[in-house]
């Protein structure tokens, strides 16, 4: 029983870190560009399929891990520049554009890669289980877990210590004030959108060996990322991190003990958090 709980704890945390990758991008984008990116799951799916294609043609998961986020991020930059920039401050229109974009991306991916379920094997180094005495656990989720934690620490450090990080925090806190300080919100917003979508793409590459690839996954991932961000608090990376862990744990242990109510539990959790703390666990009240 103890081993079962430990296994499930690791599983939940690994899935939580995947959610964190998605939620982090979504949260950054919301904080800086004030856009609720409902195409986020489609960027995830794009990353996953590109990872599949590049991984197969280049023969290296690791190369795909580096290249795919760059490509997806580039697309994100183009989307921000040519579709969203002109809609600054018009939340509903932006939502509509990202919904449309999500539809377009998802259908193009199905047209190009087919409707078949695809599954990506983990790289050889991370395939198979790890034996720790009587405890057996696959290596790949451990890699995802480590990567999520490292990324969290890294992004925190970047936000705290680098000039760009300071700009991001300034724009998130108050765009008007930031521009009077000589920061160009438009440029920061462009870069943040690129980084946010690149993170979704990274999530796709990392997530593909853990969960399968199929049409319809985009909407599911968008939903998950939104839930995490809302529970944790919008616009804060700590919120995305702890929110992801909470959702991952409730989801994982919900599936273990009350599988028929798993999805219900997550939404109930979200409703509960918002009812008690309307701006999310770690969120600030938005102006």
């Amino acid at each position: 029983m103890l081993l079962l709980l430990l296994t499930q704890l690791l599983n939940s945390l690994a899935f939580a870190m995947l959610l964190f990758l998605l939620a982090l991008g979504l949260s950054l984008i919301f904080g800086v560009a004030r856009v609720v990116n409902l195409a986020h799951g489609a960027f995830y799916l794009l990353g996953a399929y590109l990872g599949l294609a590049l991984g197969a043609s280049l023969g290296s998961f690791w190369l795909a891990l580096v290249l795919v986020p760059l490509l997806v991020g580039l697309l994100g930059v183009l989307v921000e520049r040519f579709l969203l920039r002109g809609l600054h401050g018009r939340e509903l229109e932006q939502v509509l554009v990202t919904i449309g974009l999500g539809f377009i991306l998802a259908d193009l991916l199905r047209a190009f890669f087919g409707a078949a379920i695809r599954s990506v094997p983990p790289p050889a180094e991370l395939a198979g289980p790890l034996f720790l005495g009587s405890f057996i656990y696959p290596k790949y989720p451990l890699f995802v877990l480590a990567m999520g934690v490292l990324l969290f620490l890294l992004v925190r450090l970047l936000l705290a210590r680098t000039p760009f990080g300071v700009q991001v925090r300034a724009v998130t806190a108050d765009p008007g004030m930031a521009s009077t300080l000589g920061i160009q919100p438009a440029r920061v917003s462009l870069l943040t959108f690129g980084i946010g979508t690149a993170l979704a793409g990274l999530g796709g590459v990392v997530g593909a060996p853990m969960i399968a690839l199929a049409p319809g996954l985009d909407a599911q991932m968008t939903l998950f990322a939104l839930i995490v961000v809302v529970i944790g608090g919008l616009g804060r990376i700590e919120g995305a991190f702890w929110g992801a862990i909470l959702v991952g744990l409730v989801d994982g242990f919900g599936r273990l003990f009350l599988p028929q109510l798993a999805m219900f539990l997550i939404f109930a959790l979200m409703a509960l958090v918002l009812a008690l703390k309307p701006e999310g666990l770690l969120g600030r009240r938005m102006a």
């Binding site: 919301f30 002109g86 939340e91 939502v95 449309g100 539809f103 259908d107 809302v230 939404f267």
Partner: protein, 316 residues
């Protein structure tokens, strides 16, 4: 309703806009002459239009971005279905449906309106999905994902369509009149600056909650109509994608003025049905339509039409 139309038609500067609205009503009624499938689709559009009008009021005039309308739609549908199965007369069943939806709105609204903006979106989504899960799990009552068939129910399609369009137009007229009352004006003011209005001592919470109840009841009514129309109810009607589709309809047509929602519902229903008949990539088409709409007709397609064809300045 008709009085409002003709009054506006007579009102000079608004004359051409009035004509445009008559044109839309004509489009809704035209399938009566065709019958069969076009009529079926038009009834579907009118009923979804009613739900879209409710959302448009909530979103465009109340500033409440609800992504949980499918719950009210589905609850209305199941209420009428189960009431009929239990042997209640149709009239009573149709009365219970909006009441059930409003009751759900009351329960959830108490929590929803403690939050703002995107959080409302997420909280309504959460409640919507909880209702969906319940409909899916409670197979003894709802039949689960096998759905609920309303066998043996026969309402003449022409009658159903006339009633659906009538209710839709009455709703648009009635709600537009409501927006002109002090209640409506206060809602508008709350949407623009809630803090200020609250500081004047107005209980904004109850204004928004009452609006939520009203729109939920209308959506529940639309759902009950859909149940009669399709003679079949499935949990899919409660799934969050149904809420998203309603939102797409509203934003496509234009979220303000309510006529945009009618137009959006009609346009989306027919275009989606038409496109999906010859390509499975209809999502690509719908997505492109959304992006182009936002790029070239920010307020939605209906205000654009009003400007171009109606000569007016569009609905503010």
């Amino acid at each position: 309703m008709m009085a409002e139309l003709s009054r506006e038609a007579r009102a000079g500067s608004n004359g051409r806009q009035g004509l445009l609205r008559w044109g839309l009503v004509g489009l809704l009624l035209l399938p009566l002459a065709l019958g069969g499938y076009p009529l079926y689709l038009a009834t579907e559009a009118a009923l979804l239009g009613l739900a879209a009008v409710a959302l448009s009021l909530l979103l465009g005039h109340g500033g409440v971005p609800s992504l949980g309308q499918a719950a009210f739609l589905g609850l209305g549908a199941y209420t009428v279905g189960l009431a009929l199965k239990a042997g209640l007369p149709l009239g009573l069943a149709l009365l219970l449906a909006p009441l059930a939806a409003a009751l759900l709105a009351l329960l959830t609204g108490l929590l929803v309106f403690r939050t703002h903006g995107i959080f409302i979106l997420m909280l309504t989504l959460a409640f919507g999905q909880m209702v969906y899960s319940a409909a899916h799990k409670w197979t003894g009552l709802t039949g689960g994902d096998d759905g609920l068939s309303l066998s043996g129910l026969s309402i003449h399609p022409v009658l159903l369509h006339l009633v659906a369009v009538g209710v839709l137009l009455a709703a648009v007229g009635g709600l537009r009149a409501l927006l002109q009352t002090p209640y409506g004006k206060t809602l508008e003011a709350i949407r623009q600056n809630e803090e200020k209005i609250r500081s004047l001592g107005v209980p904004t919470f109850y204004y928004k909650l009452s609006l939520y109840l009203l729109t939920a009841a209308l959506t529940g009514l639309a759902g009950s109509g859909l149940a009669l129309h399709r003679s079949f109810i499935s949990p899919h009607d409660l799934f969050w994608l149904t809420s998203a589709t309603l939102m797409v309809m509203v934003l496509l047509g234009g979220s303000r003025g309510l006529w945009g929602a009618v137009f959006g519902a009609l346009l989306y229903t027919f275009v989606q049905a038409w496109v999906s008949s010859f390509t499975d990539l209809w999502g690509l088409f719908v997505g492109s339509l959304l992006v182009l709409t936002v790029l070239f007709a920010r307020e939605g397609l209906w205000p654009l039409l009003e400007r171009r064809l109606g000569g007016g300045r569009g609905n503010a």
